[in-house]
């Protein structure tokens, strides 16, 4: 093993040897399992289309239309009407293009669970916030920094280990969703396609690619918030502060943008740019923002976070508590 890989191995070892890390994975597994149980018991998503799917779709459309007219008469909630209309349009798309709708299965469950990445983000922020601060808390930082290895390498190995942890957790969510989804709903086949509503209207797309991109978009926020928590923890050597700020901003970031969105400079706020999906769906947050602009902003923030961590970690004397 190369020297640097050994350092990353050391850091990962320290993360995974602790029980608290395994509690996180158990929680994730329970959430995935609970989601599957909820879906089977309460949801009608699992409607199975038989070979007579054309008739079934037409019937479903009629039912939805009836519901909508009823709603209109009794002034029911508008979003239900909207949702129903959307479903009708989607069903019509199936009929027009002669596409048999895909039955619910493991891959769709995996795709839906992209939302679980906020839990992965949460856990990664906790790990990232403590990976440096804990060494100070335990006093082991002294034994770590007297080795013939530069501080830069130590810091880099720690940051890399946090990203590897995020990757492992993400793969864990995907695999456990696939496995549990497979057990509960079965598999959709080798390369299932689904119909999705995009900027240009309905499109027929491969599900696996769609799933990967859903996870991909979520990773950006995860990496940015983890890097932020890592920086706070390196500068202040206080994991609680870093965890608190990291989670607060992860949850409240979009709110911050909401407050200032009338100002022109709001587009330079990190959280206005973490959701790159806005350029795919076309619901761009503010005028004048492009994909290139957001990526540039993200890179600038990332470099600032990492450099600040590096400067503080490298320059500071390690004195007594």
């Amino acid at each position: 093993m190369s020297k640097f890989l050994k350092l990353i191995y050391n850091e990962l070892y320290k993360i995974y040897v602790r029980q608290s890390t395994w509690v996180m994975y158990i929680l994730l597994a329970l959430i995935v399992l609970g989601g599957a149980i909820l879906t089977t018991t309460f949801d009608d998503i699992t409607t199975e289309y038989s070979d007579n799917w054309r008739e079934e779709l037409t019937q479903e459309n009629e039912k939805l239309l009836n519901q909508n007219t009823e709603m209109a008469e009794n002034s029911g909630p508008e979003f239900t009407v909207e949702y129903n209309s959307g479903e009708i349009a989607k069903n019509n798309y199936y009929l027009e293009h002669d596409i048999r709708p895909l039955n619910y299965g493991a891959w769709q469950y995996v795709q839906e669970n992209a939302g679980l990445l906020s839990f992965v983000s949460l856990f990664t922020i906790i790990i990232g916030a403590s990976v440096v601060a804990s060494e100070f808390k335990w006093g082991t930082i002294k034994l770590l920094l007297i080795r013939p290895i530069s501080r830069t390498m130590i810091l880099l190995s720690k940051f890399s280990a946090v990203l590897v942890f995020a990757l492992f957790s993400l793969v864990f969510v995907m695999l456990s969703s696939l496995l549990i989804g497979g057990i509960f709903f079965g598999f959709e086949g080798i390369n299932p396609h689904i119909v999705l509503e995009k900027t240009e209207g309905f499109t027929y797309v491969p599900l696996i690619g769609e799933t990967l991109s859903a996870y991909g978009y979520n990773i950006i926020n995860l990496v940015m918030m983890t890097t932020f928590a890592f920086m706070i923890s390196t500068i202040f050597r206080n994991s609680s502060l870093a965890i608190g700020l990291g989670i607060f901003l992860m949850m409240g970031g979009s709110m911050v943008v909401g407050i200032f969105r009338d100002y022109d400079w709001a587009k330079y706020i990190l959280f206005a740019n973490t959701d790159l999906k806005q350029y795919e769906t076309g619901n761009v947050l503010m005028e004048g923002m492009t994909l290139g602009f957001s990526i540039t902003i993200l890179i600038v923030y990332f470099i600032v976070f990492i450099s600040l961590s590096w400067v503080f970690f490298n320059k500071r004397d390690v004195a007594g508590q």
């Binding site: 350092l7 050391n10 320290k14 040897v17 006093g139 007297i146 013939p148 320059k315």
Partner: protein
Amino acid sequence: MNQVALELKEVKKSIGKKEIIKGLNLQVNQGEVYGFIGPNGAGKTTTIRMIVGLMKIGSGDVRILGESIQSNYKEAAKNIGAIVENPELYPFMTGWQNLLHFARMYQGISKKRIKEVVSLVGLEKVIDDKVGKYSLGMRQRLGIAQAILHNPAVLILDEPTNGLDPAGIREIREYIRQLAIQENVAVIISSHLLSEIELMCDRIGIIQNGELITERYVNDEADQTEAKNKVVFEVGQAEQAANILKDKDLSFERDGDQIMVNLSRQEIPGIVKALVEHNISVYCVTETKTTLEDQFLEVTGGNVIE
């Protein structure tokens, strides 16, 4: 031929506007055990932290086997093993896991070497227990183990016998001496257990207010033969004995049957002979050595932090 293992040249350090280390010069040779003592707040720990690279050196330089810790950190750090303050290790890992963890930070430390070190410090039985369950003495041993894993040329131990039982203290003491003699390691020990330092070290340096105020050899032969120590004579006829000493122009103190005189070692037999020749019964002759503690207090003028 022993070369200089550790060298401090005009090392200075200021924190804020206060200069806490005011130009330290120090040399420790290979195979030498050097005691580094001083009152609280004198700058011992700061100096050690600068030697191992935890603190930046204000000005001056620290060299390990000739390599500067500032300009050639990696080469210099390879040859240092240290415990800085308390032996703090990962409490949630076993002793063995802790040692493996630190071994991975060097090139080519075999499992065999780790086992060897474990048995050297006598931790075989508990090495697979979590460090959180260790007593302070056990952690101290594990701390020493991680410090010597990579066969460093310079070993820095802060309070190495702290928390050890008497048997453990003796073992570690012997082990440190053995390291110095057999493996030619330069050992720097900081402690305020002065009697401990006296037993372990070849040479001591006393630091106060950021300055090395004195350096001396422990158990120096020359020192023993020439230095005057207080000698107590317990005699049957104190009055007569006092007169004899007066005749010899020696100043003395008398306390009942005891007469206290400042004498060098070589002068003692002559005095005893004179006393016996005058038919004075000599019951007891005691040479009271000034201890390191006396010297320390004398030199530092008590424990005052400025």
